[in-house]
Symmetry: C2
DNA sequence: ACATAAATCCTGACAGTGTCAACGTGTCAA
DNA sequence: TTGACACGTTGACACTGTCAGGATTTATGT
């Protein structure tokens, strides 16, 4: 149950920061972010209730770190397939972004939810916002790359297409994660193969007819 | 500030249930759902801290009512344009669903967020789940109607297309609402005309080439 | 080596919270 | 009129985040 107990008889924990973030992840998985408390984190790390303040300032600061860590993992998840692909395979790269995005959301449901709960986070935090920008950039650049490769140039619809792609990928991830609420349509309409959905989405990146 | 004070010298409020839901909306707009408390609701309704329990049971019950009310408004928002259109205008109807969805999200940002926070709600609640199903149904039926009208029949991609449409509309609404976090790309990439985005989305409902 | 600064953690207190039981108060029907 | 019941109040409980002040360990500079 406990995450990383403090070594006995040691006034200083040694690695409290990491231990606390691990506790956050554990609790958020068990109880959701609503069930998260600084004091419970401290408890699981084997430390007094006031200790977390020295590392994160306050609760918002702790969640901000947790979310930032999530964005870094998200970037990693996208890169796994993305980096393997030939730069010439612009279409494959595009799809890899979507797959990596959805894969991360499903593998880290609880953390994914927290990452987009802006009311809970410090939106002035530089590192957090930078990571968010990076995710957005890898999508837009992949799209632009594919358009360039297929000699489509820049058309006025492209802006809307970028928004749509971003919306669809994020929306699909959100709906997949929030499956509790969305188990509507008992045919399992909303649990299709992510691959097939992404295939459909890819069509917006194709040249107009 | 206060929502609906209890009439003075009246032990019974008379319309406490509605007054409390109004207070919820007010507080959630001001502070977000994180800043919501049963006691503050009671305070704004001019009533003691224990009173809400008689109407909603507990906090989760109160939020469930609030979310259900939101789904009903969402259905209303979709219907506004939808019902005006000629049944033969299957494409127009389809687009009206998306427009109504996004319009509601933007008009009731705070409530919209709560509606999809399944951890906060009672997912066993019949009325809540029924409303959710209805929203999903109006989208799928509109899609199916358009496919029927354009003589496409039912193809195997249709399932993925429904998911994609649902994902895109919801994702766009979410991103529009959570704009704080997503004001990335200072060109305002994520604040495009919803109409243009929906136009792009409509392409998936067209016959294959 | 030693003093001093800094980082880290603890303790105790404070107001605020959700929930519950016990208790008033009004309403309505038998 | 009498009782049942819905509605609202009150007080208590354990829990929360935050803060000030103190304890302890580590790092730094001389």
């Amino acid at each position: 149950m406990a995450v990383e107990q403090k070594a006995p008889n040691r006034y200083h924990h040694g690695d409290l920061r990491r231990a606390l973030l691990a506790a956050v992840d554990e609790i958020v998985q068990e109880l959701g972010v609503e069930g998260l408390s600084l004091r419970e984190c401290a408890r699981r790390a084997g430390v007094s209730h006031g200790a977390p303040a020295h590392h994160f300032g306050d609760k918002r600061g702790m969640l901000t770190e947790y979310a930032t860590d999530g964005f870094e993992k998200l970037l990693g998840s996208i890169s796994v397939e993305f980096d393997k692909l030939d730069p010439a395979d612009t279409k494959g790269k595009l799809k890899a972004v979507g797959k990596g995005y959805v894969a991360f959301a499903l593998a880290h449901r609880a953390q994914f939810k927290v990452m987009f709960r802006s009311e809970l986070l410090d939106n002035e935090n530089e590192r957090l916002m930078e990571r968010g920008r990076q995710v957005f950039e890898i999508l837009t650049k992949s799209l632009a790359g594919h358009w360039a490769a297929t000699n489509q140039g820049w058309r006025k619809e492209n802006l809307a297409q970028i928004s749509l792609a971003w919306s669809a990928v994020h929306g699909f991830a959100v709906l997949a994660v929030e499956a509790d609420l969305l188990r509507m349509g008992e045919e399992g309409l909303l649990n299709p193969d992510p691959d097939a959905v992404l295939d459909q989405l890819m069509l917006i990146a194709e040249p107009p007819r």
